[in-house]
Amino acid sequence: MENRERILNVENLTTRFYTEEGVVHAVEEMSYQMDKGDTLGVVGESGCGKSVHALSIMGLIPSPPGKIEAGKVVFFGQDLLSLNENEMRKIRGNEIAMIFQDPMTSLNPVLTVGFQIMEAIKLHQNMGNKQARDRAAELLSLVGIPEAKQRLDDYPHHFSGGMRQRAMIAMALSCNPTILIADEPTTSLDVTIQAQIIDLVNNLKEKLGMSVIWITHDLGVIARMVNRVNVMYAGRIIEKGSVNEVFDTPKNPYTVGLLGSLPNPEATSKRRLYSIAGEPPDLIGKIQGCPFANRCTFVIDRCLQEMPPLEKLNENHEVACWESEKVEKF
């Protein structure tokens, strides 16, 4: 692998929410690195902390009740968590941009689409009204919205779901961000529209030289989109590595179970799906040992006592499991 530039280094990130019901351990000791040009997938079930981790990077955790307890987010050698609000605002939307899950609610209904795009441009790039407007139109056509100039004056409710997500992408791209964080951007869209959006982001990534963090629960999208993947469970990364390694030789029983629970597209005979018994834990209160232990078929005593650390299997694969050598894909 050629020498690539390290742009993001997340170290030991821990985010908790102090609610009336108790302390929610949303993200626990999360560490990973990202190089320029990477498309990093973060995959896990709902409530596993994948969105919270993204908001932590952006410094958008509502506080209170949320609090980043520990860790570093080093972006080009600068720890984002140590920045004050003003410095962070210069990064947000400029160096790191984000798009969200539900395009129907992510755009302000009482402001025009054009205004919302121009706003970011004017803020970060010091452009005048006219210039910003031209740039906004350019961006809209870049993301494949026809008659972009006229559509600037439309309100979000004139746009379909797919178009709104395109507009959101245009907004995110307005300042040529280094990293684009996409938080389940296609979950609420139809598959044909999802395919369009995935394609669009892939093309733009090449064109603009961005790096992308793609958060999703859909392993199919991960397989299509990304080159590196973090698998999350109960607030922790339990397996990470290059997408080929993780899908071919998963070494955490959860990853194995997740892959097994998906129908095999090649199968001709009817085989029952593998199903992981039980339910994911809620994250209130500290979990003793490995959070997956109570659903795991490989469980040993040690799992109930100690959380296994991420262990390097090879250059491209790390896994957190005491019994990883016994685990095999079926």
Binding site: I91, R92, G93, F100, S106, N108, P109, Y155
Partner: protein, 355 residues
Amino acid sequence: MTAYILRRLLILPVIMFGVTILIFAMLMLLDPIERATLYVSDVPRTATAVQKIIEKYGLNEPIPKQYIRWLVGNKDEVTGEIEGGILRGELGWSHTAQMPVTEAIMTKLPVTLELALWSIGPIMASGIYVGIQAAVNHNKFIDQFSRVFAVVAWSFPTFVFALLMLMIFYSGLDWLPPESLSQWAKNIVWDPTVFTQYTKINTVDAILNWRWDVFLDAVKHLILPVFGLSYLIFAQVMRVMRSSMLETLREDYIKTARSKGLSERVVRNLHARKNAMLPVVTIGGLLFIGLLTGVVITETIYNLHGLGRLFVNSAAAFDVVTLLGLVLFSSFVMVGGNLLVDVLYGFFDPRVRLS
């Protein structure tokens, strides 16, 4: 949007028809002779004269006939003169005011309008401001304070508040007297040679006549009534603004705005406030109710000769014709106000405006 407004406008006559039916039904609870004041100013006392009046105005005819007559008036067969008829703006004779009800409304309206004018602006502006401050400082001091204030204000009867204020600031400290003007100011205002009453609204007239002494006197007399009239509605606007702002700040598009790197000030004032205003607009109708109810109590206690006081006096004197005239008028204000609110809503929300 236009279709929606048009639809409301078309329903309007239906509502107003219902309103007249309801008012007429209340009228029918009266004895026939009591209803005579709808058409004549002094009702005779002798039995035969009474009978004559009842027959002349058909006050014991079938109800639909009486209803029509109440609407369009009674035509004198001999002279061809038409008396009464609410559609002609004739609401009957007010015993309490000793003039026709319509005229009474027009004479007393300026006093009430003055109160309302001085109340609405400050209520809206300060209620919205404090509500926003409470929301963005959620669970901090100002939020808790606003909450306590709202609940306490909501529990404090207007009439108790007004009397306590008078106890402290009038009979105790003698700072802020009741009534609308001091005697010397009244003498100026009522003297047409030195003072022209353009609008009959004291503060406005004082400015137009360039009489700052009168203006200050009027303001001094307005302070207590305006406070008494506003604190309830203020509490309401503040609470609605607070909760809608809180809700708006949780919306996804606020997250989007923040992720663009906008400052918190822009996020609040531009992205959140505009959306959060919508529920405040919808309670605009409540504002009218609050004002109309408030003036009744306020004017009674502060001895202001406006519509509210006329209302209470007519109630005390069993002057039902005046009462119903006033109720009819206030329901007009309400219906008109609600229509205005609908239009405003469309103005604020592009989703409604353009659909």
